[in-house]
Symmetry: none
Subunit: 201 residues, 4 copies
DNA sequence: AATGAATGAGATTTCATTCAT
DNA sequence: CATGAATGAAATCTCATTCAT
């Protein structure tokens, strides 16, 4: 079944990554075996190693795709005319994901990644790069808003960006532990917080 | 079968837990081997299994001690006369730890725990219990303050507690990735945030 | 199903065998993968399996061709009028090869074959047949010379043949290990040895 | 069963090496699996890896012990008063091994080593070192004899050493292929050869 | 005939845990 | 109580070979 085109190969790649996300989300990186991914993806070990050189490569691919998607979300949000709306849209985009089952899995994998990044230099580098990228993007959005006098010039853009990211990271964690965590009340606090920083001065 | 006293046993236990924290912080739960802990603790495998029934038991002991300590911190802070000071003291207590090397290791282990809690029901249960306990404590502090009219009654105590926890969880993560993260600017944002919620109405 | 002619098929076969010799010489039979041969030969796995039923078949083909060539060399040498000249020519023929790069590869493969012959009955049989054939040829040359009174009748033809073969096998090994082994001194010893046996009585 | 003494550990080590020699001799390095060695040695995989870091380490240990033994043999032989007797004793020592079953296995492994040395730099280095050591030892024996006027000064000691080694290497190979190779006739040729070089001038 | 993606048996190695001393 | 050698299940990855196209 040779001479397949890129569409075919991309489909297989996605098939493997999807299976891997499911397995990693349920078992963690270390407990999820290649065999698990084999079963989940309905492929064979050999087939998987045709697309990825190692288990770590699969993890890396997952992170990389995740980061690409997040960057896209932020760049999309940035098109809004003022910072309040940019931030509102970001909030909606990231919170929106909380309903989707597939995204739930991805979030679980993200938490695995935070742990893995600690001891795996290669994964660490990539995860770090991703978060830094996100922080820089947010930071710039804030700085731009300050330049346009939309928000107080006293706020440190970088620190505020960190704080926003923290609010979402913490939510991700807690949502993970609490199956019936109610988004609404959290959202209301978040809005109060956002308003206190991002409403027109 | 020489009966040794409790002091001796407790010292050995602590020796093992200290070694384990170091190993887990550096290698993660799965990559850190019992042998690593053996080397680090200068004991033998057999000795370790005399004090803990399994690797998981060691992890469990670490979490449990961690939670006890955090509970102590909060109960201590609660003695302050008003909520602004309670929150301020909590902030100082948790941030104070950021300078200590030993605490750095514990924080790293915490992140490992978040990941492990996802797939290990036993650890999951304990970690969940710990965060819930913390949330309940904070939540009650907030509710009490509302009852004393110190802060707005519109805020959902539980959600605000979650938000505060998130701010610290996110900081822990980012501090982990960014060796030279500056606490000061983050602290300033945190203060602004806290003030906007907790200053006398 | 395009019927191609024998010339085409023979060319492909040679292409595969050449590639295989290179790979086997560099990586050994077990470490050299079909994929290596695919890359080296610039063909595809499927193509290779069109010409050879298995990796072992390729090895077998290499041995067989090698043996054919050696037999040709001996038969050629045997045309010389007396045993001294026969032996001299054999020596030149086999030593002549030491300069050629391609032959260096073949010699490396031969050493692999000695090892493989030990545990692989099929290869073992062929290798054995080849050496036996060579020994018989030399043995007959010696016996004929004895019959013609060219050399002492006391020498056991078979044992002497073995000894001659050993001298070359050992040289092949040592040349393999010693990149700058000097042929000349060895050759002088070899000549002294040959003269002591093969000079006219 | 801890705190064992060196005798115990050496016995286990020997047990593993013996099993490995048997397996390697029968199946070759690549076909012999660790599991084979496990079965043969009646130990467990873990036990084996307690004594050797890898399959390659086992191979290395086998070569090293072999070389030590050969060196001992030569040094022992060198004590003879004149070169003829030295050489005679060497011949007897090495040929003597041909009767012993255990030595037969070792010889088979040696042939495997010649092949493995080609593609495995680590093994290559050790094998080379061993043969070089042997050649140097023989070479010095010859040179000493020349200094004492026992043999012709025209012979190149190094080349003659090579030739002697070759005679034994070739014999090892042929004995391997020919189960009923007769040593006597070969020995007679060898003696003629040795006499022609080593008898008093 | 050629292609090359897929297969899946099997190899090496690791490591939590046990238990004789 | 301590020791550390031994156990053996299980994990990752390789590679000869097949076969749909």
């Amino acid at each position: 079944m040779p001479k397949v085109d890129d569409t075919y190969r991309n489909a297989r790649r996605a098939q493997i990554l999807d299976a891997a996300i499911t397995c990693f989300a349920h078992e963690g990186f270390h407990r999820a075996t290649i065999r698990d991914i084999v079963v989940q993806s309905k492929l064979s070990p050999g087939a998987i190693y045709n697309y990825f050189g190692s288990k770590e490569d699969i993890i890396e691919a997952i992170v990389t795709e995740r980061h690409k998607k997040e960057k896209r979300l932020v760049l999309e949000a940035r098109k809004e005319p003022d910072v309040a709306r940019v931030v509102g849209r970001l909030r909606d985009a990231f919170l929106g994901e909380y309903r989707e089952k597939k995204e739930r899995l991805r979030r679980r994998v993200s938490i695995q990644l935070w742990a893995e990044a600690q001891r795996n230099p290669r994964i660490g580098k990539i995860v770090r790069r991703g978060v830094t990228q996100m922080r820089k993007l947010l930071s710039r959005i804030i700085a731009d808003a300050q330049r346009r006098d939309e928000i107080s010039p006293d706020l440190d853009p970088d620190a505020l960006a960190r704080f926003m990211i923290a609010a979402f990271q913490g939510l991700a964690l807690q949502a993970e532990w609490d199956n019936n965590l109610l988004l609404e009340p959290y959202l209301r606090i978040l809005n109060t917080f956002l308003k206190s920083f991002f409403s027109p001065v």
